[in-house]
């Protein structure tokens, strides 16, 4: 469905000068600053998959999504989405993908939500009967009925995000790109978004690329993740495999008598009772627990290793 090969994007912009004449010099300069946002990324995604595209701030996630939608032209490399090159065949690609950005909305701020949804129906030329059915389904799935007539600027972030999800899926695109769709949402709203994504994927076999910081999103939705940092892929594969392959050691967490908490790494192969006995010999223990490695720990470790 999606094939990306050696994808690279270098941003080039005039060097910014400081000082009183800075803006003028910036305007006239021929000196350029280059920044490689995406650096030789390759992956393939099959129809119906939900893939988590993960990475710290500035890793190049949004830039990848912008190239997948055909809005940004790659500096080099190849993208094929449903057999098309997005930036060359923008119109057909536009009909095949829905996009949601957590940080910006496609809804018209000053108009009632329903106006923006109707506009989407018109822009993608969705037949009236199909539009009505789609809208009904979105309203049921996302609980939009309460605020369809409310101007978007009066919506809560969670309501706005639900409106954006509806707008992205009203024309039934087979592919959905979600760039940090849960950022800033409360627990309930996050849950609603996750359920919507899971439903959409299950019912419509929609292929989903999900960018997020929230590992709970990934754990709830994705079987596979692609981990990137500084524009490069660090890991691509199943979550379970990742945890097994990179699992940091389990930890023994000990609460001492004087309310202090200490953690000890459990070295692979070392019997736990032995460690406990050793710790107990040196400290008065009040309570103890063993912490299993979680996804967060694993990912933190991968980033830390790639730093070296």
């Amino acid at each position: 469905m999606i094939r990306v090969e050696s994808l690279t994007k270098v941003f080039r912009r005039p060097h910014t000068f400081s000082g009183p004449l800075g803006p003028l010099r910036t305007l006239l300069t021929r000196r350029y600053d280059e920044r490689t946002a995406v650096d030789g990324v390759s992956f393939e995604i099959s129809a119906g998959e939900i893939v988590g595209y993960l990475g710290p701030n500035g890793a190049g996630k949004s830039t990848t999504v912008k190239m997948l939608t055909g809005i940004l032209t790659p500096t080099s490399g190849l993208i094929e989405v449903d057999g098309r090159v997005p930036w060359r065949d923008r119109e057909a690609n536009a009909r095949a993908v829905g996009v949601v950005f957590g940080q910006r909305s496609q809804l018209w701020w000053d108009l009632p939500l329903i106006d923006s949804l109707r506009l989407v129906g018109d822009l993608y030329d969705v037949p009236a009967a199909r539009f009505a059915g789609s809208l009904r389904r979105m309203c049921d799935l996302l609980g939009l009925d309460d605020f369809l007539q409310t101007p978007v600027r009066q919506l809560s972030l969670g309501q706005r995000m639900r409106g954006d999800l509806a707008a992205a899926m009203l024309y039934d695109p087979p592919i959905l790109y979600l760039d940090e769709p849960t950022v800033g949402l409360d627990v309930m709203a996050k849950q609603a978004v996750r359920e919507f994504i899971a439903e959409t994927n299950r019912l419509g076999r929609t292929t989903v690329v999900l960018t997020t910081h929230d590992l709970a999103d990934v754990e709830a939705l994705c079987e596979r993740i692609i981990l990137i940092d500084k524009g490069r892929v660090l890991y691509d594969g199943g979550i379970d495999d990742l945890v097994t392959a990179y699992a940091p050691p389990r930890r023994l967490v000990v609460e001492l008598a004087d309310d202090e908490t200490r953690t000890f790494e459990i070295a692979a192969g070392r019997p736990i009772p032995e460690l406990i006995a050793q710790v107990a010999a040196e400290h008065p223990i009040r309570d103890l627990s063993i912490r299993e490695p979680d996804l967060e720990g694993v990912i933190t470790r991968i980033y830390a290793e790639s730093e070296r």
Partner: protein, 261 residues
């Protein structure tokens, strides 16, 4: 092809209605401006029988009212919209539609203007009255020059929208554009009163088709062959602007960066 544009036009109209309090304020400003211009020009004319340029006071006042009304109605909103959307990165969505960016913006503008006209309808009799405007002898010539002038105005504003892809900043440019276009449209002073080089410049620029030319046709300062020639030149401007827009847009396309992530 029609439906996406009709949808954008509807949103443009709704957008206009969403800001009706702004419209009321600017109608008040419009009426006040026409009223002030009327005072100034009446005093300038006092004691003279007629102006050497052959415009009676009545015709001049009618002209000023019309020119301001027209400039008010045809002043485009899209540079402001585009500026905001480029700055915040929302332009991403405009670019990701199956319909082209420029047609979307043009349709939005058309809907916005139509909405403005609907809201202005009650104010038009007042302006006509304050400006002592009587029916024209050239209704068709007036409608033709004004409609084409509007198309020119929209195309010029599309040009400003596209420039925003380079500068990422069209706020100052669109403000400047507004001032320059209103001045050279002849909303304060009829173009026939501009002296020397300024007159030549104003005559060469396309802004006069948004104010001066249609209004002058209305009050009878331009007639017959002059109207036909104006229409021909307007069509020429539209063709030229279409070419420029097409060429610039092709390059802007590759310039696109979407801010924020």
């Amino acid at each position: 092809m029609i439906r996406p544009l009709a949808g954008m036009a509807r949103v443009g109209m709704r957008f206009q209605f969403a800001y009706r309090s702004d419209v009321i304020m600017s109608v008040v400003a419009l009426v006040a401006q026409v009223f002030l211009l009327r005072m100034v020009w009446t005093s300038l004319y006092s004691g003279r029988e007629s102006d050497p340029r052959g415009l009676t006071l009545e015709a001049l006042l009618a002209y000023l009212s019309l020119a301001n009304l027209q400039a008010f109605v045809t002043t485009p909103i899209i540079p402001m919209i585009a500026h905001f959307r480029i700055r915040t990165g929302t332009v991403f969505f405009d670019l990701s539609r199956p319909t082209g960016y420029l047609p979307q913006m043009a349709a939005f503008q058309a809907g916005h203007t139509a909405g403005g006209l609907l809201m202005l309808a009650p104010a038009i009799p007042v302006v006509l009255l304050v400006g002592t405007i009587t029916p024209t002898e050239h209704p068709i010539g007036y409608a033709a020059t004004l409609a084409l002038g509007y198309v020119i105005s929209v195309m010029m504003s599309l040009l400003i929208c596209v420039i925003g892809f380079w500068t990422l900043e069209t706020g100052a440019i669109s403000l400047l554009y507004r001032l320059v276009s209103h001045f050279f449209a002849g909303t304060m002073v009829p173009l026939s009163f501009f002296p020397g080089a300024l007159g030549v410049l104003a005559d060469a620029l396309p802004f006069k088709y948004m104010g001066y030319v249609p209004a002058a046709v209305y009050v009878g300062q331009l007639s017959g062959g002059q109207i036909g020639r104006a229409v021909a030149v307007e069509i020429g401007w539209i063709a030229a602007l279409a070419g420029v827009l097409w060429a610039i847009w092709r390059r802007a396309h590759h310039k696109v960066v979407i801010q924020g992530g």
